[in-house]
């Protein structure tokens, strides 16, 4: 069992990543700490408590709840949470939340709301998987995460891409044209 709480040199520090809607219903959740959140009942109870404490406050913040450090950010009808070990440096957790939100924002073309997210559920699942592996922070660079979720180039507008990504898309497009030329 991964050690989330006692060992200061353990890399396991993300207990869960949760996305709730404006009524506190779960949209998507991935829990990594089997000790604290081993059952769905425990997870749902925590989500309810968490939502009641965060839904009335500012759009981004941090709090301690039941021995879990919780960072959250909201937009329109979605609430994004990173649940961390209290042992972890809060700035690691904050970087993780920022990465999650920014990556989702890019994928949904800044249209961060429930319907758009549900329509791209598979991509959001991949994003969370790229950010955190079984409780270990994998990546905190949103651009890198987006790049790794294998998006087709026509799904991303140019203004959202970094220079290297533009190059990547251009190269792909050039390859396609080259193939057609050969066939002709």
């Amino acid at each position: 069992m991964a050690d989330f709480d006692t060992n200061p040199t353990s890399l396991y520090s993300i207990k869960g990543i949760v996305i709730l809607d404006q009524d506190g219903n779960r949209v998507l959740a991935k829990y990594y700490d089997r000790t604290t959140f081993g059952t769905v009942k425990e997870q749902k109870a925590f989500e309810k408590s968490l939502f009641s404490k965060t839904s009335r406050n500012t759009s981004a913040d941090i709090l301690l709840l039941d021995g879990v450090t919780c960072l959250y950010r909201s937009n329109v009808d979605l609430y994004f949470y990173v649940l961390g070990s209290t042992r972890e440096n809060e700035l690691f957790l904050d970087a993780t939340l920022t990465c999650l939100y920014d990556a989702v924002s890019v994928v949904l073309r800044k249209n961060v709301e429930k319907k758009a997210l549900i329509d791209s559920m598979d991509t959001i699942m991949l994003i969370i998987d790229e950010i955190c592996d079984e409780g270990i922070i994998m990546e905190t660079d949103a651009q890198a995460v987006v790049q790794r979720t294998a998006l087709k180039s026509d799904e991303v507008s140019f203004s959202d891409q970094s220079v290297s990504q533009i190059g990547f898309s251009f190269m792909k497009s050039a390859n396609e044209q080259f193939k057609w030329s050969l066939l002709k």
């Binding site: 991964a2 200061p8 040199t9 890399l11 809607d21 404006q22 009524d23 219903n25 779960r26 949209v27 998507l28 959740a29 991935k30 059952t39 769905v40 997870q43 406050n57 500012t58 981004a60 913040d61 941090i62 709090l63 301690l64 960072l71 009808d77 440096n89 809060e90 700035l91 690691f92 957790l93 904050d94 970087a95 429930k114 319907k115 549900i118 559920m121 598979d122 991509t123 699942m125 991949l126 998987d129 592996d133 079984e134 270990i136 922070i137 994998m138 990546e139 905190t140 660079d141 890198a144 790794r148 979720t149 294998a150 998006l151 087709k152």
Partner: protein
């Protein structure tokens, strides 16, 4: 129509009401040819979703779905392939035969598609075992040093997971991991450093070298620097002679350009034990800088760390008070509450008034749970500045009158009670506020709690009669439970204040007409006691309450009934006493306490059932007292023995917990032989251990009768005796039937006066002392050579006598050169023992002198107890 309604209810989330059966049905599309990538992607999302939601899928169903997923490898669609990896990881834990995808994953992890390789590595490592791991070892080593950061990080993080079950294989990749630490990518460097540390964690020297190396050659990744700080901190804590350059490195990180690193270094330094104020001050300054950050997470981290360090280094944190005061109005309530509690810990006495005014404005805006934290902080502030109770008490009283939950009110009541108990000067004001509170309290538990306190403390105030009105109002206005508590409180006034007794009797007579028998019975009982009983009985039955263990009482009554002999009445004195009265409420631990719970003292009662089950000792009656576990051997000895002394009315049973730490031996017929060189103590029945295999713990017992001479202390030699049968270390099977006898010398067994005394605190020591009379009083004066100050002397005498302090008289005010402590307990057989011990420091040579007076209701008992100190 129905579908539309459902969609509306869940806000259009098609995933919210997925049905497991339907999804598994849809998963059959995986078998179709050609593969519809978009459709399958959608179905995989739903399948993964229901698994993550905790839907339980049967093993057969999961395996069937898993096989379907494996067919999707035929598709070249990149998005679909990535979803397949995700599904493999989710299904792996609940499916059989997951190894069939090993070859596909291995092909992907070594193929040309970079987007496949990273995710394939992670999926493959999730399902691999040690044997399989060796077949892909070459690919893993290549991946760890791959130039693509996603691949490298995937391999390293997967290796960190693998360390938990296949660490011997992963350790062989140390060279590649070492190389990866040089990566330019921040995450790769961080992951690689962490894995390298874990590979070497058991080698102290290697870890130190690692810290030396990387603290000199600058790591590029702030995450890696933070991790290096954690390793370095661990070195400083674990090493007996830590290298000072390690601390220098951590301190230098306070000036790092990354905020994350600065904070990590600061919290590392303040968490170190035994730091000097000059060492800690730069870290405090760094935290102070973090307090000015616009980011809530940074402010939160800083104030939370300051909150922790404020307990250990209040003076150092004081310099941050100006910044912390601004946080009282921070929009983040967690930050505001942490700031307040930190200020309450570090505030100077002169700033208490201003601080309380600021808090008063803030407290109405926060929720009850945060208010409770503030209340707990106020409690610790009152402990530090007792004279400021005049500022704190009205504040708490005002909070008590405002709206709030039961838990909130309870926290305030408990804080006021704690202040009253700790600070005699605060008693009158505190009791007055609590009286006002119960006038309009809707929580019976809190009312009874306050009434209990009034009964105990108010009679000792200068004007006890002023409280009667508040108590009697409860008899008239409240529920049965509260009325009964009020009657008990009135009785305590009558017991302690002789001049009020006639008035109390009048009030109790009125209670005889109460509608509930709980109240009437109490009133009847107390009235009879107050009108007819002698002073001693009044104290025993009204003030001190029933101080027996519930299970002990139950056992004693059952023994009495089973004996079938009712010629003599049941005697309560044979019931084992406990240090805590039955009615004493549990004290809530303040929320501010973050330290790990200290190991609890061993419970006395569990042994009683064990002893009662031994026929040889059944006739001894109930256990009067059991001691703590005492080691008779060193912990690393071949045979370890711990002793527990169980005291009965006329005998002791010594329990020897024996453990065999020799894996090639089976011990037979294990017993402990006792020998008294003076010949006073004789061993009665013994119970031996027939078999003591390796690694197991069993108990042998010996009975010791108290000597006819009346002695209650002594020192006995002890020898462990047993037969050894040699066995095979791995199987535990005997090598042969041969045995040989062996002995093992143990530490001496000491029987002390304290073994015959159970500490029981008196709620009103003065009255009990007067009630005992002077017939059985003994006095001694002597010098103490083994203690250096008054608190230690007080503690020492309490231990030697087995008595406990009363009325918190063991608290020695600072700077005192003389102090008197009140001690009380019960001698076996049910005899009261009281003691006044006055400790003084001789100003000439700073030696400690003690005068001790012991009283009992039995002269012989007083003689025996005083013998502990002569």
């Amino acid at each position: 129509m129905k579908t539309n309604k459902k969609d509306e209810e869940t806000g259009g989330n098609v995933y919210a009401h997925l049905d497991k059966t339907s999804v598994l049905q849809e998963a059959r599309a995986f078998n179709e040819t050609p593969i519809n990538a978009r459709k399958c992607c959608f179905i995989l999302s739903k399948l993964i979703y229901i698994i993550q939601q905790g839907e339980s899928i049967g093993r057969t169903e999961a395996t069937e779905a898993f096989f379907g997923v494996t067919k999707l490898w035929q598709s070249k669609d990149v998005s679909l392939r990535r979803m397949v990896y995700l599904a493999v990881k989710e299904l792996a834990e609940v499916s059989d035969d997951v190894i069939i995808v090993t070859s596909s994953l291995t092909k992907d992890m070594t193929g040309r598609e970079d987007l496949y390789r990273a995710a394939a590595i992670r999926a493959l490592c999730k399902i691999t075992d040690t044997g399989m791991l060796q077949t892909i070892e070459r690919y893993m080593k290549q991946a760890i040093v791959d130039r693509n950061s996603a691949i490298s990080s995937s391999a390293i993080v997967s290796s960190i997971h693998l360390m938990r079950k296949s660490s011997e294989v992963v350790r062989r990749w140390a060279n590649e991991v070492q190389e990866a630490v040089s990566s330019d990518n921040h995450m790769v460097q961080y992951h690689a450093l962490a894995l390298l540390y874990q590979i070497r964690a058991n080698d102290r020297l290697a870890v130190n070298k690692l810290v030396q190396k990387f603290s000199k050659n600058a790591l590029r990744s702030p995450y890696a620097v933070c991790y290096l700080i954690r390793i370095a901190t661990r070195c400083l804590v674990d090493d007996d002679q830590p290298d000072s350059s390690v601390f220098t490195f951590i301190e230098s990180c306070l000036r790092h350009k990354s905020e994350m690193v600065v904070y990590e270094a600061a919290r590392a330094i303040v968490s170190l034990p035994q730091t000097t104020p000059s060492e800690i001050q730069p870290a405090i300054t760094a935290l102070q800088m973090c307090c000015t950050s616009p980011k809530a997470a940074v402010r939160f981290a800083a104030v939370r760390t300051l909150n922790k360090v404020a307990m250990a280094h209040p003076n150092a944190v004081m310099s941050c008070n100006v910044d912390l005061e601004k946080f009282i109005t921070d929009p983040n309530r967690s930050i505001a509450t942490l700031a307040i509690t930190t200020l309450l810990k570090t505030g100077a006495e002169s700033s208490v008034e201003r601080l309380m005014q600021q808090i008063a404005g803030f407290v109405n805006e926060i929720s009850d749970e945060f208010k409770i934290v503030v209340v707990d902080a106020i409690r610790s502030l009152c402990s530090r500045y007792p004279r400021k109770h005049t500022v704190m008490m009205p504040f708490l009283a005002k909070m008590l009158r405002s709206d709030g939950s039961y838990d909130y009110k309870k926290a305030i009541v408990e804080t006021i009670i704690a202040i009253i108990e700790e600070n005699p000067d605060a008693k009158v004001a505190g009791l007055a506020h609590l009286c006002e509170f119960i006038e309009d309290c809707e929580h019976d538990n809190l009312s009874t709690r306050v009434l209990h306190l009034l009964g105990r403390e108010a009679p000792k105030t200068p004007n006890p009669s002023s409280y009667i009105r508040f108590i009697y109002n409860r008899v008239i206005l409240e529920s049965t439970k509260v009325r009964a508590a009020a009657v008990t409180a009135l009785a305590k006034f009558g017991a302690q204040c002789v001049d009020l007794r006639p008035s109390i009797q009048v009030l109790l007579k009125r209670c005889l007409l109460d509608s509930d028998d709980e109240v009437r019975d109490r009133a009847t009982f107390y009235l009879k006691m107050l009108t007819e009983a002698a002073e001693g009985l009044i104290h025993n039955f009204i003030l001190d309450g029933l101080q027996v263990s519930p299970s002990g009482l139950e056992r004693s009554i059952l023994d009495y009934l089973r004996s079938g002999s009712y010629s003599s009445p049941f005697d309560l004195r044979v019931v084992p006493v406990t240090q805590q009265a039955l009615s004493q409420p549990e004290k809530r631990v303040p929320q501010l306490v973050e330290e790990e719970e200290k190991p609890k003292a061993p419970k006395v009662e569990p042994y009683a059932a064990q002893l009662a089950a031994i026929p040889q000792f059944a006739a001894l009656g109930p256990v009067f007292k059991s001691s703590t576990r005492i080691a008779l051997t060193e912990s690393i000895a071949e045979y370890t023995v711990h002793m527990i002394k169980h005291t009965f009315a006329n005998a002791m049973v010594l329990q020897f917990e024996c453990k065999n730490t020799m894996n090639d031996q089976l011990l037979l017929d294990v017993s402990v032989e006792l020998e008294d060189p003076d010949g006073e103590w004789e061993t009665g029945n013994t119970v031996q251990i027939d078999k003591l295999p390796y690694g197991e713990v069993h108990s042998a017992f010996s009975l010791l009768e108290f000597p006819d001479s009346g002695a209650i202390s002594g020192s006995l030699g002890a020898i462990l005796k047993f037969k050894v049968m040699d066995v095979d270390p791995t199987s535990g099977e005997p090598d042969s039937d041969d045995t040989y006898e062996q002995t093992y010398v143990l530490e001496e067994v000491d029987v002390n006066v304290s073994d015959s005394v159970q500490g029981v605190a008196k709620s009103s020591f003065g009255s009990a002392w007067e009630a005992l009379g002077d017939d059985a009083t003994r006095e001694e004066t002597f010098q103490l050579s083994t203690v250096e100050n008054i608190p230690d002397a007080v503690k020492k005498i309490s231990e030697i006598l087995g008595l406990v302090p009363c009325e918190r008289s063991d608290r020695v005010p600072e700077g005192k050169t003389q102090h008197t402590v009140f001690l009380s307990g019960v001698f076996r057989g049910g005899y009261d023992v009281l003691s006044k011990a006055t400790v003084a420091v001789d100003p000439n040579d700073n030696s400690i002198a003690m005068n001790i007076i012991i009283k009992s209701n039995e002269p012989l008992v007083a003689d025996l107890v005083i013998s502990a100190v002569v």
